[in-house]
């Protein structure tokens, strides 16, 4: 029996579970802030009912916090929606910049928890590749998690998208990428299956300090 497809499916589900759990946690935080600040406004009104003055500046600060969190929650839900639609078509033509941008928004919380600054640098122009978008996202998410897990707090992880002849390349620039990959035994069986499923190649450049995933349209 070929374990490959099962492992790919399991990797995809694991990434789905981890990502949606992170999103739901962030959404909960936004809702908690809205609830607490709405409660604070209610407290102010109850004070006013008892004849105590309300400070308009305080009121404005609190309503501003609520508006900010509604904007935040709206952004989180938009990202969740983009993530959900990444499974619409098993294989399709995509822009690598868009996948990298989605990876960025989905991973910011994980980076923050690790105290790593995550920055994604897209290519100026569209980089079209035909691949399995959700599985590519799963593979890139795995690369990113390994970098975050092993690189240590206080550092910056740069994800760079570049065009190559007939395709594109996504680089994870971490100073000690070779050590990270060795520490994580990367790519293992799961990642190798994902690389095959999306038609990509993995490169490690210890000198430049980057892990790279290359996709070709050939």
């Amino acid at each position: 029996m070929n374990a490959g497809p099962n492992r790919v499916g399991q990797s995809g589900l694991t990434y789905f579970g981890r990502t949606t759990a992170s999103i739901s946690h962030e959404l909960k935080n936004a809702l908690a802030i809205i609830k607490e600040n709405a409660g604070l406004l209610d407290d102010y009104l109850q004070m006013a009912d008892k004849g105590l003055p309300i400070d308009p500046a305080r009121f404005k600060t609190v309503t501003g916090r609520i508006a900010d969190q509604i904007t935040r929650a709206d952004g989180i839900i938009k990202n969740l929606n983009r993530f959900a639609h990444s499974v619409d078509e098993p294989v399709k033509a995509i822009d690598l910049n868009e996948i990298a941008a989605l990876l960025n928004v989905l991973s910011q919380r994980e980076a923050a928890m690790r105290q790593v600054t995550l920055q994604v640098c897209p290519e100026g122009a569209t980089i079209p590749v035909t691949t399995a978008p959700y599985l590519l996202l799963t593979l890139l998410g795995r690369c990113l998690s390994i970098c975050l897990q092993y690189m240590g707090s206080g550092k910056t992880l740069t994800v760079k998208v570049t065009r190559i002849p007939d395709g594109g390349r996504i680089e994870f620039e971490a100073l000690d990428a070779a050590r990270l990959a060795a520490a994580a035994n990367f790519p293992g069986e799961n990642e190798t299956d994902l690389l095959n499923a999306v038609g990509a190649e993995y490169h490690l450049d210890g000198t430049l300090g980057c892990m790279a995933i290359t996709l070709s349209n050939r």
Binding site: K35, E36, G39, A112
Partner: protein, 124 residues
Amino acid sequence: MRVLLVDDETDLASALAERLDMRGIEADWVNSGQEALECAAKSHYDLAVLDLKMPKIGGLELKARMQALYPHMKFIFLTGYGSEKDFETVACESGERCYLVKPVEIEDLVRLMRELTKNRGNSQ
């Protein structure tokens, strides 16, 4: 009662602290485990309210470190976990039982705080 709120969401911690103050509970707030340890070294607190998931020092680790330093202190966890069942799994591993799931009801939090600290004088 004097409490320390520890949550990396500033707009949550500050609003919660203000609401607790209005209910006669003196509350300070900080955004990280490190700040909490520094704050607790300078002031006396009866109870700490800890966010479970925070960068660097998470709520469970912070509780262990603070409890070692301040054995009198009581702890309540706030968690953004989707369901209480999820948190029970985490909680059972460390033996913790005192938690509320965000978004919390302020009166539930106050009630739990008063329950945890009501016998403090007798136990010391």
